[in-house]
Amino acid sequence: MKNRKALSLRIPEPVSRPGDKPDFSKIAVPEAGTVRKPPIDTRANEAMDLANGLIRVLNRKGEAVGAWDPKLDPETLRRGLKTMILTRAYDDRMFRAQRQGKTSFYMKCTGEEAIAIAQAFALERDDMCFPSYRQQGLLIARGYPLVQMMNQVYSNAADPLKGRQLPIMYSSKAHGFFTISGNLGTQFPQAVGWAMASAYKGDDRIAATWIGDGTTAEGDFHQALNFASVYRAPVILNVVNNQWAISSYQGFAGGEEATFAARGLGYGIPGLRVDGNDFLAVFAVTQWAAERARSNLGPTLIELYTYRVEGHSTSDDPSRYRPSEEAKAWPLGDPVIRLKDHLIHLGEWSEERHEAAEKEAMDEVRAANTEASAIGTLGSGKAPSAREMFEGVYKDMPWHLRRQRQQSGV
C-alpha cells in the first residue's frame, strides 16, 4: 500500500444545463406492458425487477397493455381526466393570482397530475393521506371545494386555516388530508404512525404518504421505512421523483446510484417503480399496494417517475438552472394528453369533448375564484380576525398568551 493513489472528490452533475440541448438519452423508457405483476405477498428481494424497471400501461398508441392494466371503465377514466384538467386549471389560475399580488406564494403540480389523482381514485375515500405540497390533486379528486382551497391561498376571512398557514398548506381531516408541513419529509413517518394506530385499533383504513425525490435525503424518510418495516404498517410510501428539487437534479438525492424504489429493498419493503405520467399504471400499482396493506402484508414503496414541468414555486425561475426546453423533451409525455389519447383510442372521448371539458374546468375555477376573491385576498378585503393569531396554540389559551393578546390590542 505504499505509493497510494491520490483520492479525488466526485460531485454529481446533470447532463444538461441552460444553453445545452435537453438530453434524456440516459433515461431508459421500457415498452409499456413489459413488467410482470407479481402476487401481493411477494417479498422485497423477489421483486428487484419491479424496483429497477418501470411499470407502464399506456403505450405510444394510447392502448392499455400488459398485466398491470387495471381495466377501469370509461366513466372512471373520464372522471380521472376531468379531475386532472380541473387541477391544472386551478393551478394556472392561482399562479396568476400570485402574480397579481393576491397572495404571497403558490406551487403548481403541472405534469404530475396523474399521481395524486389516480392514487386518490385507487384509495378508498376514508384512507388517510399524508401529502407533500404537490398533491393538491388529492383534495380535488376527493371533492374538497375549490373555493375553500382558494380561501386558504388568499388567507381571507373564510380561510379554513384562519390565516395562519402559508398558501397551499391545506388541511382537511374530513377529506382524509393531513395538514401539510413546510418542513420537508416530516409527514412520512407520521403516516406510518397513523397506519400503526389504525392497525392497533383493528380499523380497516390504511394510510398513504408522499415525498419528493429530493426529500428522500431527510432522516424522516429512513425513520418511515424502518418503522413501517418493523411493525409491518399498512401504509403506502410514495416517492414522487420529478427529477428536480428546486435547482438540484435528482443526482443530489442519490438518484443516479440506484432507483428510489430500490431504497425499500434494504428494509424488506417491496419497491415498485412506475411511470408517473401514466394514469392507469399509477392507479394499478397503488391498488396493488393498497391490497397488500389491507391484507396485513405491510408497506410498499412506490417511486412515481415524472417531471416537474414548471418552476419549483412562484419564487423560482427554472431557466437559471436547466434548459428551458427540457419539459417538452421529457420522454414520458404529459399525463393529461396520454389519458386523453387513450380515451379517444377507446372511442370514449374526442377533441371536442376535451375542449369543452377544459372550458368547463376554467369556468368552474373562475366562478370559485370570483367567490373567494369577493371575500378577500391577502392584504385586501375581509381577513380573518387577528385574534386568530393567539387562538389554537393550545386547546385552552394560557395566561401568557391572553396577556399578549391584550397587549397586542387585537
Binding site: R164, Q190, D220, H400
Partner: protein, 337 residues
C-alpha cells in the same frame, strides 16, 4: 395510599391509564419486555400485551413522528426517550410538528402525546446522560413542559399530561427516582419512603398542569426551583437558617405566575435555581418575569444559581452541580442586597 418511589409512581400512572383507556399506548427503546432502563414500564407489557407497551427501533425522530401520527389518528401515545440527552434527533418533529399541528390546521388535527424522558445529573453519567434541556422546550410555543419533584406529583402530573389535549414534554429528574436527594452527595440518601409525598393513591387521580406548589413557606426570600433542585433548595434554606419560601414550579409552561408574584411581592427577594447551564436557561425567563412583575418590590437583583456553561463533566460532577452551598450563598447575598 401506598408508599412508592418516583419510578413506581410513574409506573402506576401508566398502569392506571392503560387500564382506563385503550387509546393509551406506551413505547420507546427498551420499554417493552425489559420494562425500561430505569424500570418505569416494568410489567406493563406483561399486563397489557405487546401491542400496548412495546420496544422501538433506536430512532428518537421516528418514535416521536410515529406518536404524532398515532395522536392524529386519535390515540394517546406515551413515549419514552431513554435519556433527555437523546431527544435532539426528535427535535424537528417536536418543534416543527407536534407543537404546531393544532395551530396550523386550525384544530383539524391535534397531538395529545406525552414524551417522558429522564433528565438531569448527579449520577456520574457524564455529558450524555446528565443534561437538562428544559429551556429549549419552553421557547417552543405549543408545547407544555412538566417536571415533577415527588412520587405523588409524578403520578398525578403524568396522568394529567396523558389526558391533556396538547403535547407535553414530561421531564423526570432521574437523580430523585429513588429518593429525595438534597444535594449532599457525601451523605446517605434518604429513601422516598421517609418522605410524606411518597404516599401515593393506587388508583386514578390528577395533579393539574400549570399549578406550582409552595413546599416551604417563608418570609425572607423566594426560591424558585423544580425537579431535584426543589429538594436541594429546601436543604439549603434549612442549613443556611434562612426563612426562605421555596416554590416547586412543577409546570414550566404554562407557568403559575400568580404564585410566584405573590411570594416575591411578600419577600422582595428571589433566587432562581436550576441544574441546566446558566445562559439562556429557564432561569433567565423566570428572572425576566420576576423583574417585570415585581420590580418595585425587589430589594436586590434576582440571583440565578445554575449549572456552569460547560458540558456536564464526568469527574467534576459535584463541582458542577448547583448544591446547597451555592444556593445558600446566593440566598445570603440576595438578603444582604
Amino acid at each position: 395510599m401506598v408508599s412508592m418511589n418516583m419510578v413506581q409512581a410513574l409506573n402506576s400512572a401508566m398502569d392506571v391509564m392503560l387500564g382506563r383507556n385503550e387509546d393509551v399506548l406506551i413505547f420507546g427503546e427498551d420499554v417493552g419486555y425489559f420494562g425500561g432502563v430505569f424500570r418505569a414500564t416494568d410489567q406493563l407489557q406483561r399486563k397489557y400485551g405487546v401491542t400496548r407497551c412495546f420496544d422501538t427501533p433506536i430512532g428518537e425522530g421516528g418514535i416521536v413522528a410515529v406518536a404524532i401520527g398515532m395522536a392524529a389518528y386519535g390515540l394517546r401515545p406515551v413515549v419514552e426517550i431513554q435519556f433527555a440527552d437523546y431527544i435532539y434527533p426528535a427535535f424537528d418533529q417536536l418543534v416543527s410538528e407536534a407543537a404546531r399541528i393544532r395551530y396550523r390546521s386550525a384544530g383539524d388535527f391535534t397531538v395529545p402525546m406525552t414524551v417522558r424522558t429522564p433528565y438531569g445529573g448527579g449520577i456520574f453519567g457524564g455529558q450524555t446522560h446528565s443534561q437538562s434541556p428544559e429551556a429549549l422546550f419552553t421557547h417552543v410555543t405549543g408545547l407544555k413542559t412538566v417536571v415533577p419533584s415527588t412520587p405523588y406529583d409524578a403520578k398525578g402530573l403524568l396522568i394529567s399530561a396523558i389526558e391533556d389535549e396538547d403535547p407535553v414534554i414530561f421531564l423526570e429528574p432521574k437523580r430523585i427516582y429513588n429518593g429525595p436527594f438534597d444535594g449532599y452527595h457525601d451523605r446517605p440518601v434518604q429513601p422516598w419512603s421517609k418522605h410524606p409525598a411518597s404516599q401515593v393513591p393506587e388508583g386514578y387521580y390528577t395533579v393539574p398542569l400549570g399549578k406550582a406548589n409552595v413546599v416551604r413557606e417563608g418570609g425572607d426570600v423566594t426560591v424558585l426551583a423544580y425537579g431535584t433542585m426543589v429538594h436541594v433548595a429546601q436543604a439549603a434554606a434549612r442549613d443556611a437558617g434562612i426563612d426562605a419560601e421555596v416554590i416547586d414550579l412543577r409546570t414550566l409552561i404554562p407557568l403559575d405566575i400568580e404564585t410566584i408574584v405573590q411570594s416575591v411581592e411578600k419577600t422582595g427577594r428571589c433566587v432562581v435555581v436550576h441544574e441546566a447551564t446558566l445562559t439562556s436557561g429557564f432561569g433567565a425567563e423566570l428572572t425576566a418575569l420576576v423583574q417585570e412583575h415585581c420590580f418595585y418590590h425587589l430589594e436586590a437583583p434576582v440571583e440565578r444559581v445554575a449549572g456552569w456553561d460547560t458540558p456536564y463533566p464526568h469527574a467534576f460532577e459535584w463541582q458542577y452541580f448547583p448544591g446547597p452551598k451555592r444556593i445558600g450563598e446566593a440566598m445570603r447575598r440576595v438578603m444582604e442586597g
